[in-house]
């Protein structure tokens, strides 16, 4: 048996205690065997030492031996510990993905009462400064930061399951507002529709078509704008898609105005 100083003995006891804690519940590793291995290693290191082994000497050997965690086989590390480990030591791009998803989950937990339908009101929650909104916004920002680190969408792999939900919670309402605001907000309050409310729907469709042409024009000039707003979902958006948006807008105008005109003429003829 080697002779350890008091502080060295405490240090070894602490190390072995940590090893036992990590090995708790481990099926394939015998904690007693690991303890014997550690002690045998230390005894071999200090074989023939004349004086009691000091704390510093033992600590140096334990440092070389490595963290108590390493005695647990990788396949036996519980999932939650793997997540913590990945957060603490894993590469940045995985860490950010986990943080983003964590904040996203917290945003639901802090909601009173839980606002599970927040997908349609997330911008309202954010703008009104609720705790849920703040966590949603934070998870969105971290997701976007993770995207910057990962750079290439094809390299996202399993991280997409962590990053996409917070992104979609913001993107979907933003897309609805961006593309559909004329239908959401447009109130036809002029003399024509007051007299003829049946024309309102057609004019609303035409107004949206006009807006899509404007959007298509803007995105045709700067397709990177849409790619930037809806990263990574719009990464493949190019001029071709912007032109398609303008064509759809034109079709909507024709349908809206044509439909309204048809109703108008049918009604005036019948009168």
């Amino acid at each position: 048996m080697i002779n350890l100083s008091d502080s060295a003995k405490k240090c070894l006891d602490k190390y072995l205690q940590q090893v036992r804690t990590y090995l708790r519940g481990c099926k394939t590793v015998d904690a007693d065997e690991v303890e014997r291995n550690v002690i045998e290693h230390i005894e071999s290191e200090f074989e023939g030492a004349a004086a009691a082994v000091s704390f510093e000497e033992l600590d140096a050997v334990l440092q070389k031996l490595g963290s108590p965690k390493q005695w647990v086989p990788e396949e036996e590390i519980p999932w939650w510990r793997k997540i913590i480990l990945r957060l603490r030591t894993g590469p940045e791009d995985w860490r950010l993905a986990y943080i983003a998803f964590g904040l996203f989950i917290v945003s639901f937990l802090v909601a009173k009462p839980p606002t599970w339908f927040a997908i349609v009101v997330s911008p309202v929650l954010i703008l009104s400064g609720t705790a849920q909104g703040i966590f949603l916004l934070a998870s969105f920002c971290v997701s976007r930061a993770a995207l910057v680190v990962i750079a290439n969408r094809d390299e996202l792999g399993g991280r997409k399951w962590l990053i996409y939900p917070p992104l979609l919670f913001i993107y979907i309402p933003v897309a609805i507002v961006l593309f559909g605001w004329p239908t959401l907000l447009y109130k036809i309050n002029n003399s024509v529709t007051e007299q003829r409310p049946e024309l309102a729907e057609g004019l609303r469709v035409a107004a949206m078509g006009l807006w899509w042409i404007v959007l298509g024009l803007v995105f045709c000039i700067r397709p990177s704008l849409l790619r930037m707003i809806f990263r990574p979902f719009a990464d493949k958006f190019k001029h071709k898609e912007a032109v398609l948006l303008m064509i759809i807008g034109l079709v909507l105008i024709i349908l809206g105005i044509g439909g309204s005109a048809l109703i108008y003429f049918q009604q005036t003829q019948s009168q």
Partner: protein
């Protein structure tokens, strides 16, 4: 960024190489744990944490590639000695052949540069 790439790559490489080196270290002899650590310690960059060798030895034993015998020691308590089983000798021969092929191929690529 480059350092991180190198660290990840070297960690992966070490994981596979440690099994091969441990089996080679005890080939034709029987050694106790610390002796194996001491032998591998001399290979630069192979052993970052010496404690990683013991779980590998346990795993190799579980898989039937090595067997242990407890022998009395003149310098202290009895020690656990590791030696290859027949199954271990067979797998080691395969592993060495595989590693030789990889190394030859890699060296050939380097010469082509």
């Amino acid at each position: 960024m480059d350092n991180r790439f190198f660290d990840n790559w070297s960690t992966q490489l070490r994981k596979g190489m440690l099994d091969l080196c441990i089996l080679n270290a005890i080939k034709g002899t029987s050694l106790y744990g610390y002796d194996i650590v001491r032998k591998l310690r001399n290979i630069r960059g192979l052993v970052i944490s010496e404690g990683t060798i013991y779980p590998i030895l346990s795993r190799l034993k579980r898989e039937g590639f090595v067997q242990t015998t407890i022998k009395e020691s003149t310098e202290g308590p009895p020690r656990k000695y590791y030696e290859l089983t027949d199954k271990g000798k067979t797998i080691l021969s395969e592993m060495n052949g595989y590693w030789k092929d990889i190394k030859t191929g890699t060296d050939a690529l380097k010469r082509e540069e």
